[in-house]
Symmetry: C2
Subunit: 306 residues, 2 copies
């Protein structure tokens, strides 16, 4: 099976605690790594989780608050120290480049690689990344500053050719891609071998939506409808709904409500306020409305399987 | 006894490892806290070590390399989040303010407190901080960029008055400070009570020198002569002396040689290169020349006593 796996590097909120690192995650899509947010300490957590620096070329920053980006200068500098040559692409709301260029340039007067900043408009959803296997689309959120979540969506894959059929019918390599795309194979004597006999169905296209930071914002339901995995912030317990609204954050029940209405397969809640010693209480609240919920925790891997 | 205690928050070098945080330390001088360097993750380590944010007003940055300062934006923002009102003073070589102001201002458009940058010339030693109990003097070092270490030196204290003597001779409060400073006390009938009977000797004035990052630089010996505690970087093992010189760092034996020639009481080595899995080997090398050496490690406290 082709891998689609999320690793949580940090799931705390802005106030530092001894329990959490600030926000950062890595999504592994068929061994390409995509980082989402990059709070202070991210590179340390990245090493602890034995993730490969070579496989990381794209970083997505949800908004310009320190607990989502203060790990960038260190990560950029470390790449330079390691003599990285591959381009690094950073996607964010407007202003990131202007903010971090001075510290980045001062500490790396001789860069071994190029950093490209791609700044997007947070008012409307747009595809900001696309390759052969995946698209990344922004999800406009509602926070104190311009903020977007990100929808990672695998493209429909090709069918899998059955190894033994290649041998049995002596199928030339040049035909393989057509067959994966659905073509039948015609033998030299004119006999048609049906595609269904030659292949097994394509892997299911997986999807992941990251929504943090945001207050309860039901407009996102349509965009995250039916995703395999939804990470939604749940900074506050249900009893602190007024506080959540004041600070443009969500409660456990609000996160669960989004998950339920969007009929996602699984919900991960995170970005916990430092005030809660017992996060299981937060989990129980969310589960009361959306049972297939888990708590984010550092170094946790969430595998999306078929 | 009045406290003079060093807490190591991070003692790794620039390349991240799972063993270490980058450079940061806190010196507690009679419950005032002084931070030395502030690598990424410092605020997290600060919390883990249960140090008080309220007692920290002065941060000393040795040089403008990321592994010594990338924790500043996070720490400055956290203070703002906690509605700090006390001034924060940051001492560093030239350029720090220009480098971190953009990221600091963007993330904290409404600061609850003032940050003052004090930038010093790294070519000559100077007293950059002084209060009632302490002076901090720069120690010019030799690194790839302008760098200074810091000498923390307690002032000679006052003698300690013996509580029971105050009662026995009914000494008025107005006289106490004079007696602590060495004066005798004269009774109403003219009898002179000798100061030696009224007091015990002042606590010894403690001293600590921080020297990182630097290549072997014997010119510092005079400045650190006789200190109670010397932190000297030992990025490399003795066999990698050529590499140390190339990168403007020191070896274990070079650190020990400085300690020995300066006749310090105790040496702490740190800033270990990520290449060494076994740091005890580094310790043994340093001890071969200067036996009273210890390895820095995260969350370690080194108490300087009488």
């Amino acid at each position: 099976m082709e891998k689609f796996e999320l690793t949580i590097l940090g799931c705390g909120s802005a106030k530092p605690t001894t329990r959490h690192f600030p926000s950062s995650q890595v999504l592994n899509v068929r061994d390409k790594l995509f980082m989402i947010d990059c709070g202070e300490g991210t590179q340390l957590q990245y090493c602890r989780n034995k993730l490969s620096f070579n496989r990381l070329n794209h970083i997505f920053i949800s908004h310009l608050h320190g607990d989502h980006l203060f790990g960038l200068p260190g990560l950029i500098s470390t790449f330079n120290l390691l003599n990285r040559t591959a381009e690094l692409h950073i996607y964010s709301p407007m202003g990131l480049e202007q903010m971090i260029k001075p510290i980045m340039d001062y500490c790396n007067y001789d860069m071994s690689y190029q950093v490209f900043f791609h700044e997007f408009d947070t008012n409307q959803s747009a595809v900001i990344f696309e390759d052969r296997t995946l698209t990344v689309t922004t999800i406009p959120l509602k926070h104190r500053v311009p903020t977007c979540g990100f929808l990672f969506k695998e493209k429909e894959g090709l069918r899998h050719i059955r190894r033994e059929m290649i041998d049995a019918y002596e199928i030339p390599i040049a035909y393989i891609n057509n067959i994966k795309a659905g073509a039948d194979f015609i033998l030299p004597d004119g006999e048609v071998i049906d595609n269904a006999k030659l292949t097994t169905p394509a892997s299911r296209a997986h999807s992941y939506a990251y929504c943090s930071d945001t207050m309860y914002h039901p407009q996102i339901v349509e965009q995250v409808r039916g995703v395999d995995l939804l990470y939604h912030e749940a900074t506050y317990a249900a009893e602190h709904e007024a506080k959540a609204q004041l600070h443009f954050h969500s409660t456990t029940l609000q996160a669960a409500k989004i998950a339920k209405e969007a009929q996602v397969r699984q919900l991960v809640i995170g970005h916990f306020s430092a005030r809660y010693d017992d996060e299981n209480m937060l989990l129980e609240e969310a589960k009361s409305l959306f049972p297939n919920t888990i708590l984010a925790r550092e170094d946790q891997k969430v595998l999306v399987d078929d």
